[in-house]
Symmetry: C3
Subunit: 326 residues, 3 copies
């Protein structure tokens, strides 16, 4: 995952990590320093990874990670080069380790390091409204227009010829050229991801970012959350209407058109040239192909192949929907 923003506080020794998890595993060589925590596929030597489901067995066999958080019943899926660390709840442990490496990626308190744009070098470079605030590690391209009361918190890159609407808040995002984000949006906040826990849920870090490719338009009062372990991506020339919610890790292809009040739940992947009617909802972890049309109000709870038109709740082939609802 391309992630230029969240600072990795590692390396940490295996001993430190085990201590943090309250695990005693004397058999493990504990002075080894680990550089990062990554998924099975992305890990390299001196990384720690995790395996929490049989679904990922094939990936597990090929992982290059040196250590893997897993369970007693899954540990035999790992190659000899990868030392298992047995825990009760893999995802909770992963969350804790990720928070060691990326402590800044858990909470989204407001950025108190911002300053007025008139105190920055951007003041002569862009056209900006009143009361615009700019955080650390922000870059703005040429010929941008930044509306009133906009807050660009830390870790944002905006390309050339972009227009940001008034009252919009952006953080942890890469925005390409010729993008318009209209008024009142919130872009780059952490997703709705946490481990439910009686009396006090446990939030896990969101080290992904939001990537909005060139020529996109994002309608008023929309929210696009950044990813947890991967990025949230809006492909080029995709247009979103007002009041849309794009959850963490979602990827949308190019040239798609998404009407008002649509919601796309976490980790779903939408193809290119897709049209989604108003108020439709896409469940999490769904794959929608290319050249798909989803009727307004639909509820998509299963994958949709390329070149299909669907409608209904649950969404089905549109001919079937219309025949059933004459």
């Amino acid at each position: 995952m391309f992630n230029p923003f969240f600072k990795n506080r590692g390396p940490f020794s295996v001993r430190d990590i085990l201590n943090f998890l309250n695990i005693k595993t004397e058999s493990v060589e504990s002075n080894i320093e680990l550089k990062d925590i990554k998924d099975l596929y992305g890990s390299n030597n001196y990384d720690i990874t995790f395996l929490h489901s049989k679904k990922y067995r094939e990936l597990a066999k090929k992982t290059k990670a040196s250590f893997c958080i897993t369970t007693e019943s899954l540990k035999n899926e790992l190659p000899a080069s990868c030392i298992p660390i047995i825990v009760e709840n893999v995802l909770v442990s992963v969350s804790k380790i990720t928070s060691m490496f990326y402590p800044d990626a858990i909470n989204d308190d407001f950025d108190d390091s911002v300053i007025d744009i008139n105190q920055t070098n951007f003041k002569d470079k862009v056209i900006s409204g009143k009361n615009v605030l700019i955080g650390k590690n922000v870059s703005l391209g040429k010929n941008c227009k930044i509306g009133h009361n906009v807050i660009i918190e830390k870790n944002v890159s905006i390309g050339d010829n972009c227009s940001i609407g008034s009252n919009t808040i952006i953080r942890n995002s890469l925005i390409s050229n010729n993008v318009k984000i209209l008024d009142n949006c919130v872009i780059g906040k952490h997703g709705f991801g946490f481990f439910p826990n009686k009396n006090k849920n446990l939030r896990y870090p969101h080290i992904g970012i939001v990537i909005i490719e060139e020529n996109c338009e994002i309608g008023c009062s929309s929210t696009i959350d950044r990813g947890s372990m991967s990025n949230t991506v809006i492909g080029k020339n995709t247009y979103l209407d007002n009041q849309i919610h794009i959850a963490h890790n979602v990827k949308i292809g190019e040239n798609s058109i998404i009407a008002g009040q649509v919601g796309i739940a976490g980790s779903s992947i939408i193809g290119s040239n897709v049209r989604i009617g108003g108020q439709a909802g896409i469940s999490g972890h769904i794959k929608v192909g290319n050249n798909v049309e989803i009727g307004g109000g639909s509820g998509v709870i299963r994958n949709i192949p390329n070149n299909t038109k669907v409608m209904g709740y649950p969404a089905k082939n549109i001919r079937e929907f219309l025949r059933d609802n004459k």
Copy 2:
């Protein structure tokens, strides 16, 4: 109802109240002073209450109120200690009387008494962003973070370790410790409650407040309206995602998880350990039990018992839903 905020302008004499309603009832002892208007159950001696439906017959029999706004056909349900005042439209009359006692609870014009937080004693107590405004009768706990452009209007109490996102507006709310409210929310506005009336609807007062218990999280761009005659309550450790609307008088239990774009209509009561999928809607005056799962996109129009999983529109048992939609 616990309501520390709206000032009761009473007592008013029975005569004043009858005059205000344009009622002549000479048979009534009109010098008696009435302290408050409350529902049948909550009323005490020297309060006025109301009875507008046979549904509340059992409660009516036991009311301690001295007077009751009601109709000719319902007046015999009242005990001898409670004097009926007969009107044509009970709820409109109640609305008018409530507006006598609580004139500040009808309109939600912006609070023009707010001042910049840097002119208050909070400036050294909390970490606050730019352009933060604080109204009268506000308290803030220790270790809070208050984002940019936040407006905390009058009658708000916020506990310790809370984080309020930028651009959020709060009024008439009690917020416990360790609560996070993300960006762009509106908390504590009056509900969508009024008497429809040709050419000019008649708004009734909303004297309830919003109570958010400890460890809750409220997602971006959500709206939580305060109650009319009771409070709107979010139970502890309940998490709301983005773009959620919670209407007036709604109560949600503890440890519940509510995904993006869900809407809960007025006066519904949701149990504890409830999970609601994205874009689901709950009708008004519905009761959802504990340990209930409601699938994304569902429309709940009937009560749901404890320990049930439902999905669909209208929502039904999830097995039935999946069987019907293979």
Copy 3:
């Protein structure tokens, strides 16, 4: 269409228009000056109009326009007084011509001409919050309350006794007396209207405005887009709850009540005395009659006659819906 705001940069000669479209039509008298571009019905002599579908054949026969953008196959529907200009894609050409006459109506970059209300004559006329910004060509009536951080961009007229909530943004709108717009709304932005085009969509101008008639209330975080070639209208004493989206060209009648999170897609026409339950959606180009009730969560995809109650997705007669879903 009544449109006091967008400045017409015409007249333009037929030659200029043809050049702009890259059309060579030597047979046309090209020195004639055209004053405006309008629909078939609204056009007068020296206007240019357009005909893109057989549906409008009857209107075409009676148009008073001097020129008409159309296709080879439709040109014979026009009267002798109207000279056809043949193009490949009528709507794209219309969009281009409209952008000649109304170049300010395409993009909605923030209004950088606004100034603080305390630098205007309104400062003593209305009660306003902190950080209120006012654009050019704005009028405010008596006894208005304008909340904190409100941005009234150019081309807005607000009547007497209006209340505008904090953080709300308004442009290109006519707002009558006694209207309340609550917090965080965006009123008058261009609609979600453009011609999809690989790699770079083509936005067309929105020269309509938003008209909100007297005694209306608009809930928090709602968005009402202005029209493209006609206005978006909210009829008098109509109340909208929170998080509602009204798309471009929509017209809603009087005394209607629309609950939270409802969405109405482009160009639909809703009657008077209509009640729409929470989260219902109305497709585009739909006609909903007077005295209609639409149940919460419904998806309306067909016209609804007067005096009807409907529910469901797709919406059908409510008795049928309840019978089918016992």
